[in-house]
Amino acid sequence: MISYSDTLKISSKFDELKKRGEGAYMAHVYYGDPNEEFSIRLIRTLAENGADLIEFGIPFSDPTADGPAFQAACERSLRGGMTPKRCIEGLERLRREGLKAPVVVTTYYNIPYSMGLERFMAEIKEAGAQAVIVPDLSFEEADELVRAGGKQGLDVIFQIAPTTEGARLNRIIDAASGFLYVINVEGVTGTKKELQRSTLELIRGVRSRTGIPLMAGFGVSKKEHVVDLVSSGADGVVTGSAIAEIYSRKLDGPEDALPEIARFAREIKAGCVEGFARRSLNR
């Protein structure tokens, strides 16, 4: 068994970044796409080039909240024989080999449901995860998973969306732990050219109601997006499809894409820093 220092706690990470005056960058990958070795190197590259947190995806056959890039990623990974168990072993290996960033495991609900919620949570905890995101688990159905997470000290990350309103929004905010994941767009994952004005308003609105860290995801693919989001009050951003898009153009030798991905991560992280600086100015 591997033991983790307190610095891996999500709250500590946000505290630390705030102290440093930086927004947080969470990089989302589906493990095993197109193979395990690449995923390990990819995650390491991201962590070394600015990713503060890793969103570690266990692929699912029917990723309904994901756009084309991540659908293809799940398909490739599964076609390569990936299983939830091997994913968890992969996470364990990353930890063993020194990964220091907090890890948020993400997958669809049938994966933990199939394994048994308690066992799933115990296994990912043991492998080194700090939290989970289940994009098809509504707040209304989350009790069981939250309970299982509680036993392990794992946060179940809730999402809010542009369509989340009124009393429900408040209830979700009140129940959130770890951080709140703000879905930027009405739609699935995938890169977008432009950030919508309404997204920034959403961030500002939620910001004014809660102190919990806000991570803005879906559609983020450019430094400008990041600067705008963080300066509007987000505590950080998530990129996912943008990364998959880079290496999926070079599937024969995805390692060749790592330098470009490293550059991309550094830029996003730079946006997190710049956005935070602007935020201080805005106040």
Partner: protein, 391 residues
């Protein structure tokens, strides 16, 4: 029982993006559906546009063959050729009352897509239908129908290009457009309130069966047999009989080549509870929880999940789950053609095949109602090729 739950089944497992529209939908359904105005228009359309009540036909020749009395509930005579219109008309009307501008849906056999396009035109809403490319090939004539009706048919190439992938894509599309768009769910699946809504609109089938069999046969039936995957025609037929414990209920799935074959769709024999497309259901899945597609010859039986209500009814033993293998299904088509002059949909033929192959389930003086869910026009080429091959 918690709202939207049937035992352990059901619930609302969706992206946060969709929760608000599901709440809106449930509220709208509860508010609008019971109004006299809605009911008048809905019932009026079912009658004058759809052709309800559909007959309960005493199949004399088939009864002679099997040795007990068989009635067919003739959903094949509903406009569009299957039970699907009951639900499509109801939801399309609801969508228009909710001021939605557009309908999206998915289809496998194409029957639901056709009925959605029809209903969309009736209420004046645009319709977009997602359909797996494999299903588009197999159900080409229904693709033509949908397009002629002005429906936009969007090919789904993700995953296996089958129904489950089409449902996924429709859900994705819905997350981007739920403010203006209604997802006209085609079977009694998906997150609450869909299973409830679909079952409510489809239960006109069972209500009619009850009245008709009483009138024709002087009592309740001994058994009702329905095919299904999502379970809308079955739940529709069963609902008014669930409390009538003497009425045996049979739910027949696609057996494919055999239980070992990878086209088998017998989720109650081979699956287990899981979460897909918004609900806990009985699901065909591998040991890790990845969803397994099935590919029986009947496109409409290839959804890997069983709606929450039918899942619960089968799990608790109130409904007996069975299956029929492809070869018996084609034989059932032949028997149906020859005895009663009716070409059934391949889906429907599963229910008939079950009765033909399991005569020992029924007594000499049993009254058995087969929910004859659809006509075989859409499957004509497949059936014809099969019958030629056998000669």
């Amino acid at each position: 029982m918690k709202k939207g739950r049937f035992g352990i089944f059901g619930g609302q497992y969706v992206s946060e993006l969709l929760m608000p529209v599901l709440i809106e939908l449930e509220e709208a359904f509860d508010r609008i559906c019971p109004t006299e105005d809605f009911q008048r228009r809905f019932r009026g359309l079912l009658r004058d546009y759809g052709g309800r009540p559909t007959p309960l036909y005493y199949a004399q020749n088939l009864s002679g063959l099997v040795g007990f009395r068989v009635y067919l509930k003739r959903e094949d005579l509903l406009c569009g050729g299957s039970h699907k219109l009951n639900n499509s008309l109801g939801q399309a009307l609801l969508a228009s009352r909710m001021n939605k501008k557009r309908i999206i849906t998915e289809t496998a056999a194409g029957q639901h897509g056709v009925s959605a396009a029809m209903a969309g035109n009736i209420v004046g809403l645009e319709t977009e239908i997602f359909m797996g490319v494999k299903d588009m090939e197999r159900q080409e004539s229904n693709v033509k129908r949908m397009r002629l009706l002005g429906g936009r048919v969007t090919p789904v190439t993700t995953g296996y290009g089958l129904l489950k992938d089409a449902v996924s894509d429709t859900l994705r599309e819905w997350t981007t457009s739920s403010r203006t768009t209604h997802y006209l769910m085609g079977s009694a699946v998906g997150p609450h309130p869909f299973p409830m809504i679909v079952a409510t609109f489809q239960s006109v089938i069972g209500e009619e069966i009850k009245a008709q069999v009483l009138e024709k046969d002087g009592g309740l039936p001994d058994a009702i047999v329905a095919c299904g995957s999502g379970g809308s025609n079955a739940v529709g037929a069963f609902r008014p009989f669930i409390e009538e414990k003497d009425v045996r209920l049979y739910f027949i799935e696609g057996g494919g080549e055999s239980l070992d074959a990878d086209n088998c769709a017998a989720a109650f024999a081979l699956g287990r509870p899981g979460v897909l497309h918004g609900a806990v259901m009985q699901i065909l899945q591998d040991e890790h929880g990845q969803i397994k597609p099935s590919r029986t010859r009947a496109s409409g039986l290839n959804y890997p999940g069983r709606g929450p209500e039918i899942s619960h009814l089968c799990q608790t033993g109130r409904v007996k789950a069975g299956y029929a293998f492809d070869r018996d299904v084609f034989e059932a088509v032949r028997v149906m053609c020859r005895t009663e002059g009716l070409i059934p949909a391949l889906e429907t033929a599963h229910a008939i095949a079950y009765v033909l192959k399991n005569k020992e389930d029924f007594d000499r003086d049993d009254v058995v109602v087969i929910n004859y869910s659809g006509r075989g026009d859409k499957d004509l080429d497949l059936i014809f090729r099969h019958s030629e091959d056998k000669q």
